[in-house]
Symmetry: C2
Subunit: 466 residues, 2 copies
Amino acid sequence: MAKGASISGFPEWLPAERVVEQRVIDTLRRIFELNGFIGIETRAVETGASLLKKGETSKEIYLLSRLQEVTAGQENDTPLPERLGLHFDLTVPLSRYVVEHSGDLAFPFKRWQIQKVWRGERPQEGRFREFVQADIDVVGNGTLPEHYEVELPLVMVTALEQLRAFGLPKATVHANNRKLSEGFYRGLGLTDIEGVLREIDKLDKIGPDEVAKLLVSECGADAGQAAACLELADMTAANGDELRSKFDALCDEHRIPKDSDAYALASQGVATLAMIVDEAAVILPGAVIADLKIARGLDYYTGSVYETFLDSASALGSICSGGRYDNLASHGNRTYPGVGLSIGLSRLVSYMLHTAHATATRVSPAAVLVAVWDEERRGESNRIAAALRSRGIAADVAPTAAKLGKQIKYADKLGIPYVWFPEGADGQEGAPDEVKNIVTGEQTQADRATWTPADGYALQDVKLGD
Amino acid sequence: MAKGASISGFPEWLPAERVVEQRVIDTLRRIFELNGFIGIETRAVETGASLLKKGETSKEIYLLSRLQEVTAGQENDTPLPERLGLHFDLTVPLSRYVVEHSGDLAFPFKRWQIQKVWRGERPQEGRFREFVQADIDVVGNGTLPEHYEVELPLVMVTALEQLRAFGLPKATVHANNRKLSEGFYRGLGLTDIEGVLREIDKLDKIGPDEVAKLLVSECGADAGQAAACLELADMTAANGDELRSKFDALCDEHRIPKDSDAYALASQGVATLAMIVDEAAVILPGAVIADLKIARGLDYYTGSVYETFLDSASALGSICSGGRYDNLASHGNRTYPGVGLSIGLSRLVSYMLHTAHATATRVSPAAVLVAVWDEERRGESNRIAAALRSRGIAADVAPTAAKLGKQIKYADKLGIPYVWFPEGADGQEGAPDEVKNIVTGEQTQADRATWTPADGYALQDVKLGD
């Protein structure tokens, strides 16, 4: 590794790899905008006060200092809440943006945002400290209809479905609902709901036996309650009817009465979750399932919660997560409830590049390299390139008037499919221009004002490797 | 201003403003790619060693610290060269990227890069501490043909010409050449070339009289030499012939012999500069002029230098600057010469928004809002939206089944031009769908499988205000 080169956790792509990332970003943006989401870009920094809610200082954040302050030894003169730090997600900036600009936004505010975020982690294998997130959220002013809890995961699976062209396996959203879980746990007689959710969230990592032990030791559950929690977590359903009947059967089994407050709360969650899977089944069958072990450890979710897994890449874990939070932001006595999901894009791009072997069909965006016979005639080659560009055909001009073989080699190295010969293959004054497809070898006379590349050679694209 | 809201120097746009910025970025990318430039994105951080070449610590840089280190008081345990800092331009990252990946790149490497950069400045009016730069550079491996010094400014003026659609005034590139200046100064008998360039660079700020004094007091010039330097700086030319004849006349006047080394050096610069203005005159007449006062204070330029001014917004200063540097990067005994120009994009966008009053034709990307008669029939509205989206028509669905007037008001607030009525204006079961253009009031029956928006209403766009 060269001096001053790679820094652990800060991925950087080669040009052909960057094309893949760029296309992924373009694709997500297109889908988000097709669905009426509004793009914003927030500044990269927030104040310590915004980043460290409740004074919590265990977060993995990069704080900024001006070099001048550092060299003057004044780095810590500013109190933590007033210091600037890089945002670690796009949710904190969104909540700040919504409060700051509420007078200028129409609610519900549907926004997409694709930006880099930073995590000030200790360097370690496979963890990114700089990466791109792609988020969609809908934020209401005071209230937010539940149907957004149905629509947002559908937009995300539609988007992820489009990314299969870049080598992403089929994605399935696993949805659950906090009200459903809480109602059930309360129906069992448990009271430390956050505690139970936190332990259930560990299921994939430590397995049911360990979780059961923790439910007993940490959350005041007895063995039967712990077993019931695990039974609920084990439940999945592909449609609303299946969900309702399985859930009711479990309530009956554990004697949770249908007229209890707990059951009423759970029923709200069941209804929303049923709506999600049923609506998804119409739009994209099999794309969303009810999976009642999804807990999302974070405590701010208040309704639906989502995680998304890839069919043949479960090692990646959840690639797109989120949920509903009734208190995304607040200002005075006004609250802004939201529903959102977030894709950790860099990990997906890394998978596409290194496992699916996605790469650019060519390194250069140019479809044509215009040859140069000698430097005195470079102007003529520039004219040809300009004529092609004026018709939307990306064109480059040979770097030097080297031997033709060398010029063709340059085109080949960049993957440029066509080489244009001003005044024909020998450059004889007055001869008609010719163009050669260096992939197929086909060479024809060509008019700069009308010629177009053949299908499949016009635009830089992404292809999958073996 | 709300708590935790705006931070001086960190601009952030409202949704309709962000559309302008996004279109500007899209436009630049399109022009750069049409010209065969390859897009890269570098990480936001570099090491102190990269950022602080020659140990210079006066730069305006943000250094990063992990919060964990700050709270543990270990913030300064890492020596400055190993600390991470945010990049302050896109040139330092490019030179590091080229050295790091030289084995994977084809040279000359033509790259575009549009990214945020950060300057750790003291907060002050009108200075951005976070902003977007748009750069193009060509980097050679060992050598780099001079014709790129002609082509790069032309790509930039072509791009800036496209930005006039967003309210940017006409831009003119002012080009000069370091060899021309140096040869002339040496021909006059001056030896402190960097010193003279540094003082000449102050012309616009302090005027010719003060510069003349400084040339005498700081650079060892006598009054006649100082006057000659100012005469050269006063020279402009619209074509190569004019440049050559004016320059030769000035050399004759000051008795610089044609057979001197100094004149030979200057002649190289004259030839390149003549080529630039003559080639530009063919492609975009008037877009590039020779302006011999352009000095660019920085000492690493070795050939052409460029600054770009807007016709009716000279207060903005140079909006796009750059030049040739024969030693952009080096590694061992290999050097990488480059030619590049950089646009400070955020200042341009700010001008477009606040002076040219550019704004989005609509806030939402959606062309259609599908109405909802009651929540039970929302699924049907979702189907209609999905059908439209599948044909590339961006569509949103009303947030609630409110009274129709309220739904139309929501569309109006977001600038969505069409409202779609499932089963007609009254939502009577079995009736054909209707769609209303709420701008013109026109309402027609419509088929979700075939209907398309009228010209001018299909896509979100940018318009200029009064």
